[in-house]
């Protein structure tokens, strides 16, 4: 009974936050709504016995990534970040309908079919057991099955660092001239 109530409350928090993100006009509100969703998911993680992930979810996602968003919004100023727009893609609205339709179809299938499947299936490996803690089990797979993926994330982070440095640089005059956009014409 408690499980059901926890699930429903957390799910409502998640979904209202998600709708808030896509409907809020002000990006600051959207970012705060995102925190709400992330918090709801952290609750679901606890319910699914992924305790360490729940902590990481709050610390890294809500604590670092959303703060990064807010920081950039502050850097740009609320007015600028609210009026920010990129050009529409071809037939974007149709794509949105197609996407949500297809998504709901998948959803209907999930509701119907998955429930009775996969019960009593033997674990393939790295089984969750009660003798060791969640953290040490995670560490075990992180440095065994997924050790290469773990090392590879360092390449990803190097790319992100170079990218941030490159993109944060101001264009020099020579670059603007080489770019061929005559000054002031379209900017």
């Amino acid at each position: 009974m408690v499980d059901t109530i926890v699930f429903i409350v957390a799910a409502v928090i998640c979904l209202s936050g998600a709708f808030g993100v896509i409907l809020a006009r002000n990006p600051v509100h959207a970012a705060l709504m995102l925190v709400m969703t992330l918090f709801g998911i952290a609750v679901q993680f606890v319910a699914l016995e992924a305790h360490f992930l729940a902590a990481v979810q709050v610390i890294v996602y809500a604590g670092a990534i959303v703060v990064l968003f807010l920081f950039v919004i502050m850097l740009l100023g609320i007015d600028v970040s609210q009026s920010l727009e990129i050009g529409a893609m071809q037939s974007q609205k149709i794509a949105a309908f197609g996407f949500s339709g297809a998504g709901l179809a998948i959803l209907g299938f999930l509701v119907n079919r998955v429930d009775n499947a996969a019960t009593g299936r033997p674990p393939v490996g790295g089984a969750i057991n009660d003798r060791t803690t969640n953290v040490s089990q995670l560490a075990g797979t992180l440095f065994d099955d997924y050790v290469y993926a773990f090392e590879l994330t360092s390449v990803l982070l190097v790319i992100a660092v170079i990218g941030a440095v490159v993109l944060a640089r101001k264009p020099t005059r020579a670059q603007v001239e080489a770019g061929g956009e005559s000054e002031g014409s379209d900017a």
Binding site: T4, C14, A18, F19, V21, I22, P27, A31, L34, T37, I41, F45, A47, L48, E49, A50, F52, L53, V56, V60, Y61, I65, L68, F69, L76, S81, L84, E85, I86, A88, K93, A95, A96, G103, L104, L107, L110, V111, V114, A118, P123, G125, G126, A127, N134, L138, T141, L142, D145, Y146, T153, A160, G163, L167, A168, K170, P171, E183, G184, A187
Partner: protein
Amino acid sequence: MEVTESWYLVLGALLFIIGGTGLLIRRNPLVMLMCVELMLNGVNLTFVAFSRMFSDIRGQTVVFFVLVVAAAEVVVGLGLVVAILRRQPEATADDLNVLKG
């Protein structure tokens, strides 16, 4: 009613759909980036639900990698937003210089 894993799968799918729809209907790159985060969180929830279903810890380990990827994407995406907006005042300053002499 008992909460089964498929409830979590449905919630994950819903988050994925809401995020994807939001990405397609909004024009603001900052909000679009947040929609990507919503989609990735839906996937995370799916992974953890399957992990519980199979009693297989690796489904949870995957979430770490998604987290790193999401962080890297956000850094580059926000960098692009800043880079695009940097050009605006920059061009005006250049114009002033040109006019002066």
